[in-house]
Symmetry: C2
Subunit: 180 residues, 2 copies
């Protein structure tokens, strides 16, 4: 087991337990590694593990979501693919958005650049794709913000109601509204 292989396992543990709830005992069980091994990979401890997880999430979104949006054409296929990717990624709202969850707590201040950068680049990339469809810059930015916020809110509400379909339904309406 090398360091990079542990990151997705740590990510699921942080998503399931939250930053504070993911104790070293939990992280140890999630990876199958002793505490000593984890500290060998991450000398900075839990904070370095969470930073690596956020970087991994950012990298995935950069490749699969942000970059395709930035190079989008004038048809809406890039935005359509974003909705498909995101619906998959969040597993119909059962999997939370870690940068979003961190934004609501103290973690926001500790991981400020990672959290703000993730949302800033998501919104900017989606705004680019909307501009490529001929929408004016200011309106594109506003709509992009509303869609990203709508996705985050859909995770919250669908989880609160324990109704994963609510996430899928909300994303379908966001998609219809933005492609109209």
């Amino acid at each position: 087991m090398d360091r990079t292989a542990t990151v997705p396992l740590l990510a699921e543990a942080f998503r399931a337990h939250g930053y504070q709830g993911a104790s070293l005992a939990v992280l140890s069980a999630a990876t199958g590694l002793g505490k000593g091994s984890l500290y060998n990979f991450f000398p900075g401890g839990k904070e370095e593990m969470a930073a690596a997880v956020l970087a991994g999430i950012d990298s995935w979104f950069e490749t699969n979501v942000f970059a395709p949006l930035r190079t989008a054409g004038s048809d809406g296929t890039a935005i359509d693919r974003m909705f498909d990717s995101v619906t998959d990624y969040f597993r119909s709202g059962e999997r939370i958005c870690l940068p979003g969850a961190f934004a609501l707590g103290r973690e926001r201040d500790v991981f400020a650049d990672a959290v703000s950068g993730y949302f800033e680049r998501w919104i900017a990339a989606l705004a680019d794709a909307l501009e490529a469809q001929g929408i004016a810059a200011a309106r594109a930015r506003a709509s992009a913000t509303d869609v990203v916020a709508g996705i985050q809110g859909a995770i919250v509400v669908s989880r609160a109601l324990s109704r994963p379909e609510a996430f899928v339904d909300s994303l379908a309406r966001l998609r219809a509204a933005i492609t109209a």
Copy 2:
């Protein structure tokens, strides 16, 4: 100091630190009461404190938001007042929604009824107000869900970007969209 007076102080502590981050030391400092006094009011400890806080939040929304929406007329003033109340309550996105934050973590399962009930009644009340404007039931429910989710997402995004104006701007657009 009596039990009811501690609840708003505990609420701010839970909002600022999260459920797990709000240790008894934090809650003691927030209320100015020793641990012994807190256990005197809340024999069930931290979990009973959080339950009381959620009940207090629910009660405030029931009075100030849900009930007015249910008895709304055919003009949009009740919905307008909801947006005013909510913008104030969340302090332009600097104050988080505790039921929303709980929905993203393990707390959702511990406080399942309080969390789901809060969102269920908010959505149902807003849907009632939309139906009073002549909107069909299914569409009213969908729009109400989108507005409530949009508010939750606006809190997440505005906090992530550390831009409180983003919350106010998002709510203004949600208001314009729903009253159109």
